[in-house]
């Protein structure tokens, strides 16, 4: 290869490597801000701020959803299988919200350690399958899932 071209090749490679390292360091320094939510274990450990709005993410604990008879109020527990945090929310929940499914709740922690949510988002997983396959895997279809079927 011509020496000038070789020199340019080295320059181009250096440019890519150095900019990657720079941006990698920035991303590493900002990793706490890039995370969309805190897992319950971090909230229990006191790593999440209590004086401003945070997001909490995890799985809705099976059997923990309690709906009010007269209002839109709902309470449920969110877990990462290490710790659990209670969430109180008043509003319409997304269709995919269900026990045992992923959820991201945005709101502020009150004095008792309950997250008073202003928004609840459903986090679904990467699995896609036809209803029959899911039924065969589960042995049955959970009532919450049956409602979502066409």
């Amino acid at each position: 290869m011509h020496p000038i071209r070789k020199q340019r090749l080295v320059l181009v490679s250096l440019m890519v490597v150095l900019s990657s390292v720079a941006i990698g360091l920035v991303a590493f320094a900002l990793r706490d801000n890039i995370n969309l939510f805190y897992p319950p274990a971090d909230v229990i450990a006191g790593k999440a701020p209590t004086d401003r709005t945070i997001r909490l993410g995890g799985m809705v604990v099976e059997g923990s959803i309690e709906r009010s008879e007269t209002e839109l109020d709902t309470t449920f527990w969110v877990t990462d299988y290490e710790a659990s945090v209670a969430v109180r929310y008043s509003g319409i929940l997304p269709d995919l919200f269900a026990e045992g499914e992923g959820v991201v709740a945005e709101g502020m922690l009150d004095g008792a350690g309950t997250l008073v949510a202003t928004q609840v988002l459903a986090k679904h997983d990467e699995n896609y399958m036809p209803p029959e396959v899911a039924a065969a895997l589960e042995g049955k279809i959970a009532p919450a899932d049956r409602a979502a079927l066409p």
């Binding site: 995919l96 988002l121 679904h124 979502a148």
Partner: protein
């Protein structure tokens, strides 16, 4: 090997070669898009949790995959342009940028439309979505930077540097769902191991990804041909090709 590369750099040869390629690629792309869309939207079964709304995956994922791959095409052309100073590489880079921008926009818009019924929000500032938005701005940046220069050789050099620096974003987009807590779910398609998507839904998805790759190649080639015609509008070979008019 070197003769092929030299031929690729020759506008008359490339113009004729790409003409043949386009003639074959056009019907193949249309056929793949039609079969993939009908298979994915009508034949594939509904999802056990999302019902029919998951079917937007057949547009969303192919657009996003090819938007990422297309960025490497643009950056690689930029590197070739910087090192070997081949005009055809400039044209490739310039032709890929707007196509990539449109694909990224499609991925972002279909993602928002999908996000509303499944997550409950049109837009969330999570790592995957934000890095994808940065990709959109990078593509637009290359287009704008090229237009900002009067001297097109300098423009190509600046665009090549921008697109090469931007390559760092591609692995970030790809791994964002694994590196950070995000609302976007991890990848369903896996290069190694079993995919997390049932085969009855996977095959039309793979077909659509292939169709989008063909669509990308086709539109970039057409863009390059248009660019060539404009750049060589006074050349004798082009006048000969046009029938000596």
């Amino acid at each position: 090997m070197w003769t092929i590369i030299h031929k690729m750099g020759s506008p008359p040869w490339f113009f004729r070669f790409s003409g043949t390629l386009v003639r074959w690629l056009l019907p193949i792309t249309i056929a793949l898009l039609l079969v993939g869309a009908v298979w994915g939207l009508l034949v594939a079964p509904p999802d056990f949790r999302q019902g029919n709304s998951y079917r937007i995956i057949y547009i969303h994922v192919p657009a996003a995959v090819v938007a990422l791959a297309g960025y490497y095409v643009m950056a690689l052309a930029g590197a070739v342009s910087l090192i070997w100073r081949i005009k055809m590489a400039d044209i490739t880079m310039r032709a890929a940028a707007p196509v990539g921008a449109v694909l990224t926009a499609i991925a972002l818009v279909t993602g928002a439309i999908w996000g509303k019924p499944t997550w409950g929000a049109w837009w969330v500032w999570d790592a995957r979505i934000t890095s994808m938005l940065i990709l959109f701005f990078l593509y637009l940046g290359v287009v704008a930077l090229f237009e900002a220069y009067e001297n097109k050789t300098a423009a190509a050099r600046a665009c090549a540097v921008l697109s090469l620096v931007g390559t760092v974003n591609i692995p970030i987009i790809y791994k964002s769902v694994d590196w950070w807590y995000s609302l976007h779910q991890p990848a369903s398609l896996k290069l190694t191991g079993e995919s997390a998507i049932d085969s009855s839904m996977l095959y039309p998805l793979l077909l659509m990804i292939l169709a989008f790759y063909c669509l990308f190649a086709l539109t970039v080639l057409l863009n390059m041909r248009a660019e060539l015609v404009w750049a060589h509008r006074e050349s004798s070979w082009l006048k000969q090709l046009a029938g000596g008019a």
